[in-house]
């Protein structure tokens, strides 16, 4: 059982989801998965060394993760309110449309 490969697989799934999903909430879930993969790797490193200090530093990783989640969620709410949808393709289309209207 190799936890490096496990966390790499998790990271791969997260990055694939980030690149392929068009729903903003799914993008948020992908970011959560990437953060979980990084944290998993860090915890397994410290537990393999038998040191508790790494777990204490883990609080920093979790708080950073929570802050990132809060910012992403705030952006998501703003974008959804502004454009009325949470689909990235539709948002990009609307943005391009409004830009071309502003130019004309």
């Amino acid at each position: 059982m190799d936890f490096v490969i496990l966390s790499l697989v998790m990271l791969g799934i997260g990055i694939y989801g980030l690149l392929t999903n068009r729903q903003l909430l799914k993008v948020f879930i992908s970011v959560e998965l990437i953060a979980t993969a990084a944290t998993l790797n860090f915890v397994m490193l410290t537990s393999s060394m038998g040191q508790g200090l790494g777990q204490a530093f883990l609080i920093l990783a979790f708080s950073t993760d929570t802050a990132v989640s809060a910012v992403i969620l705030a952006l998501l709410v703003i974008v959804s309110k502004k454009y009325g949808t949470s689909n990235l393709s539709e948002i990009i289309k609307m943005q391009e449309k409004s830009e071309s209207e502003a130019e004309a």
Binding site: D2, F3, Q23, L45, S47, S48, Q55, A56
Partner: protein, 153 residues
Amino acid sequence: MILEIVSIGLIISACLALFLDEMVYSVAALSGTFIFTAILYILNGSVFAAIFQFVVGIGTLAILFLSGEMLGDKPTKKASPKKTLALIGIGIVLSLPAIFLSFSGSSGTTTDASFGDALWNLRGMDVVLQALVVLTVAMGIAIVLYEKRKGGQ
């Protein structure tokens, strides 16, 4: 054996969280991911980390359930059990390398190594990969800023 089962569950729930159409089911699968991660931490003796994972996970899930209901678009077609089964199968296949392969050389009981030694000898590959990711992101940001400046002129 328990570790392997939990790892398979972790990967399956991650796949389901990303690729299920209904938002509520995705969030439920994400809760499974958090729970399996916490169980992995407990099995490796990191109880403190597991408790934090639970606490942070519960907060994230509560917010995601609410925002998923409020902001998520309703799927036009019903989720098919075939797709769910296919996702579970993909999850099992993806978790096999973690169970059978190993490139760190040990499943990790090096209690006498210093932090620097352990970081480079056991996790050298991760460090290099993370450096590559950071480099790629930095180059991407630089390219986007350059294109923006070019477009502005």
